[in-house]
Structures are given as structure tokens and as C-alpha cells.
């Protein structure tokens, strides 16, 4: 009988280089799935949030229901949200994405609306005086001015989505959450710690990327401060 290999995997240590090198592909796939689920969810959320926020600003009566419904959606627990959507989507990646979209809506709608409402009336009037039509006013003046507030919401929504994806493990589409879940059941410390740290790294990286994007998109805010 050969002696068991005396490495960090056999000793089940928290930090283990052998784990990183031997499971490189598994980790990479999980990271990819994690990023994909987050990105798709946040993008769909953004596409849905814009018209909702515009409607809430345009028609006074729409603001209450839009904000109310999205807030209620936000109070539904993630595990419950995934299970409530289960009859609609089954055990699929769409289930996780749909749940995350509903969460991001609250943060995005609120922030986009706040940004649009903060555009000064004089600015709007000046643009109208220069002959801007409603569409051009929206695209060239109002949306750019609403961008900082909208981006703040987008950053919070993205960071929250990255951490919520892990719960998707219950239906098998949790990205790094899958590794945490299986690591918990097999008491595999290196896997749990590595996956957890990667989650935080993805969240921080996404936040910094969005911050960079915001600075590139709003060069005028830099010269002022």
C-alpha cells in the first residue's frame, strides 16, 4: 500500500496551490458562468429599467405603481424568488437570470428616475430654446446628465447580483456558488475559500470597471471637482 500523498489537498487546507493548478478548468468555467449570469441579468435589467423610469417620470400616475412593485420585488428573499419562478422557468440558467433581473430593477429604476428628476428645468428649457426635439433632448441632454446617478445604481445592482448568483447553486446554476455548495457537502475547505474569494474579486473588479466607464462617459464631472 502506498502512503497517501502529503500535500495540502490531502490535508484539506484552506489555502492550497495544488487545488488551484489541478482544478484550473473547473474554476475558470465557474467564473465564466458567474460573470455571464451577472452580466446578462444586469443588462436585461437595464433595458427594462430605462422605459420604466421614463414612464414613471412622464406620467405622474405611473410613478407610484412602478416604484411600489419594484420595491416589493426587492423584499422577496433570493431563495424564495428562485423558487417562485421555478414553475415558469424550471431548473435552468434562465431561472437565475430572471430572479436577478427582478432584483436589479428596483435599484436601477430608482436611480435612473432620481437622475432624470435631478436634471435642472433651466437646462431643459435652454435645450428646447435651441430647437431640441423631445427625443434629442432626452438622448443628448437628459440621459447624459442622469448618468452619474444611474451609474451609481448600476454599480450597486451589479455588485449585489454577483453575490446573489451564488444562491443559484440550489438549481445548479450558481457559478462559483456551485463550488461553494459542493465544497460544503464534501467539507472541501480549499474549494470553498477559493470560490468565495473569487466571488469578491469579481464583484470588486466589476465595480471598478463600471467606475472607469462612468469616468469615461462623463468627462465633464472631472474638470469640476
Amino acid at each position: 500500500m502506498t502512503a497517501p500523498p502529503d500535500d495540502c489537498l490531502a490535508r484539506n487546507e484552506w489555502v492550497c496551490g495544488a487545488y488551484l493548478s489541478s482544478r484550473r478548468h473547473i474554476l475558470w468555467d465557474a467564473v465564466l458562468q458567474h460573470v455571464q449570469l451577472t452580466a446578462v441579468a444586469v443588462l436585461i435589467g437595464l433595458v427594462l429599467a430605462l422605459p420604466l423610469a421614463l414612464a414613471a417620470r412622464r406620467w405622474h400616475w405611473a410613478a407610484g405603481p412602478v416604484l411600489g412593485v419594484t420595491t416589493i420585488l426587492y423584499t422577496i428573499p433570493s431563495l424564495a424568488m428562485f423558487s417562485l419562478l421555478l414553475p415558469v422557468y424550471g431548473l435552468s440558467a434562465s431561472l437565475v437570470v430572471a430572479g436577478l433581473v427582478l432584483y436589479s430593477l428596483t435599484l436601477l429604476v430608482r436611480n435612473v428616475l432620481a437622475g432624470l428628476r435631478a436634471v435642472p428645468e433651466e437646462t431643459r428649457q435652454a435645450a428646447r430654446g435651441m430647437g431640441y426635439g423631445p427625443v434629442r433632448l432626452l438622448l443628448a441632454v437628459e440621459l447624459p446628465l442622469a448618468l452619474p446617478a444611474a451609474m451609481a445604481g448600476l454599480r450597486i445592482a451589479t455588485v449585489s447580483a454577483v453575490s446573489l448568483v451564488t444562491i443559484g447553486a440550489i438549481v445548479g446554476y450558481g457559478g462559483l456558488g456551485n463550488l461553494i455548495y459542493s465544497g460544503m457537502n464534501t467539507y472541501f475547505k480549499a474549494q470553498v475559500l477559493t470560490a468565495s474569494v473569487l466571488c469578491v474579486v469579481i464583484a470588486v473588479a466589476a465595480d471598478l470597471l463600471l467606475l472607469l466607464l462612468q469616468r469615461l462617459l462623463t468627462p465633464w464631472t472631472r474638470s469640476r471637482s
Partner: protein, 227 residues
């Protein structure tokens, strides 16, 4: 529609309400977990936030903590704790993970609330010879109360929602009904569990909403009497 009807009949089956795994027992566990975590988080976060807000220091700390808190998945923290010696303390890992999760919103809201107190009022109170302690307890804290309460409400609702995650790691609470439903492939039970948690969260939200609506009006009345 059928799923909802199935879930309704699952909920209304009296056998599902009793016993060790029944809805009643799970509800009590959930309430206990939420209440203990909320209490511990408040005891940790509020004194620190009030003191920092009073001194006007540590704003960056409060905001950064809140951001970091959002980036760290509670589920990951729970599992990490479960695999350490803390894992042997029964509900210990769940409580620690949930407290870590609830502290940031409490800290940020209370700190911001303290900083947004009208500085003219603070200066006037100081001019009247109030000590720092009187200033904190009699002026700043009452004025910051609405925002502090908002923080407590956010933390409470999120705790109710997040306590379900304990079930993924074998803990108690209403989440167990959901995970058990997944294991039994019973969509009706899963949906029933989800509805229970969602209703619980909304009830907590409603209670705080009502409390908040009553509190400021009374504060306003008192301010009107003295001013």
C-alpha cells in the same frame, strides 16, 4: 395557475403545520434567528455609528464597510464559518454570517442620519452649554431617529429574507421548507415555502412602516410644542 393552487392546498393541509418540521416550528425558528441577529447587529452597529457620527469621523469607514458587505456573498460566509470550529456551535455560523450581513446597512444609515442633523441646531445646543453626552442623547439622536429607524427596517427585512439561506447549509427556519421541497421535487412545497417567507418579509416591512409613520409625527408634535 395550477402550481399556485397546489401550493395553496399544501399550505392549507393541517399536517404540514405541526410537528418538528412543520410550518409552525420553522416559523418560530425563523423569527428567533431574525430577532437575535437584529438585536446583536443593532448592539454592535448603533453605538459605533452614533459615536462616529457625533465625533464626525469615520465616514469613509462606514461607507466602505457597506460596499464591502454587499460584495461578500452571505452564503459564502456561512459555508466558510461552517467549515471552521464555529461550525460546531449549532446555529452559530448562521447567526455570525447574518450579523455580518446586517451590520453595514445599520452602520451606514445611522452614521448618515447623525451627520445630516442640522449643524445650526447642534451649534445652538452647544452654545446653551450642553455637554457632548447631552448633545448626543438629547439633540442629535432624536433628530437622526428617522434615518436610524430606516436602517433598522432595511436590516430587519433583509435578515428575514436572508435567513432562508441558512437552510442551504442545513440550518433551521422557513428556508428548510423550500430546500426540502427541492429535494422532494415538490414544486408545490417550494412555492408554498417561498410565499411564506415573502409574506413574513412584507409583514416585517409593514410593521416598521407603521412604527415609522407614528414616530416622526409624535416627534414633530413635541418639537411644535417647545418651539
Amino acid at each position: 395557475m395550477n402550481t399556485l393552487l397546489d401550493a395553496w392546498s399544501w399550505l392549507t393541509t393541517s399536517a404540514h403545520w405541526h410537528g418538528q418540521d412543520g410550518i409552525g416550528a420553522r416559523l418560530v425558528q425563523h423569527l428567533y434567528l431574525t430577532a437575535v441577529c437584529l438585536l446583536v447587529s443593532c448592539l454592535i452597529a448603533l453605538p459605533v455609528a452614533l459615536l462616529l457620527g457625533h465625533l464626525g469621523k469615520g465616514g469613509a469607514l462606514a461607507v466602505n464597510l457597506s460596499n464591502i458587505g454587499r460584495a461578500v456573498p452571505t452564503f459564502a460566509v456561512l459555508v466558510l464559518l461552517l467549515l471552521t470550529p464555529v461550525g460546531r456551535w449549532g446555529e452559530g455560523p448562521t447567526i455570525v454570517a447574518l450579523v455580518l450581513f446586517a451590520v453595514p446597512p445599520l452602520l451606514t444609515n445611522a452614521y448618515v442620519g447623525m451627520r445630516e442633523v442640522d449643524q445650526d441646531v447642534v451649534r445652538a445646543a452647544r452654545g446653551m452649554g450642553m455637554t457632548g453626552r447631552q448633545l448626543l442623547l438629547q439633540v442629535e439622536m432624536p433628530l437622526a431617529l428617522p434615518l436610524i429607524l430606516t436602517g433598522v427596517r432595511i436590516a430587519a427585512v433583509q435578515l428575514v429574507a436572508t435567513a432562508t439561506i441558512a437552510a442551504l447549509a442545513g440550518g433551521g427556519g422557513l428556508g428548510r421548507i423550500i430546500t426540502a421541497g427541492f429535494n422532494l421535487a415538490s414544486t408545490a412545497q417550494v412555492v408554498a415555502g417561498a410565499v411564506l417567507v415573502a409574506v413574513f418579509a412584507l409583514v416585517v416591512e409593514g410593521i416598521f412602516e407603521a412604527a415609522q409613520r407614528l414616530a416622526p409625527s409624535r416627534l414633530g408634535l413635541r418639537a411644535g410644542e417647545t418651539g
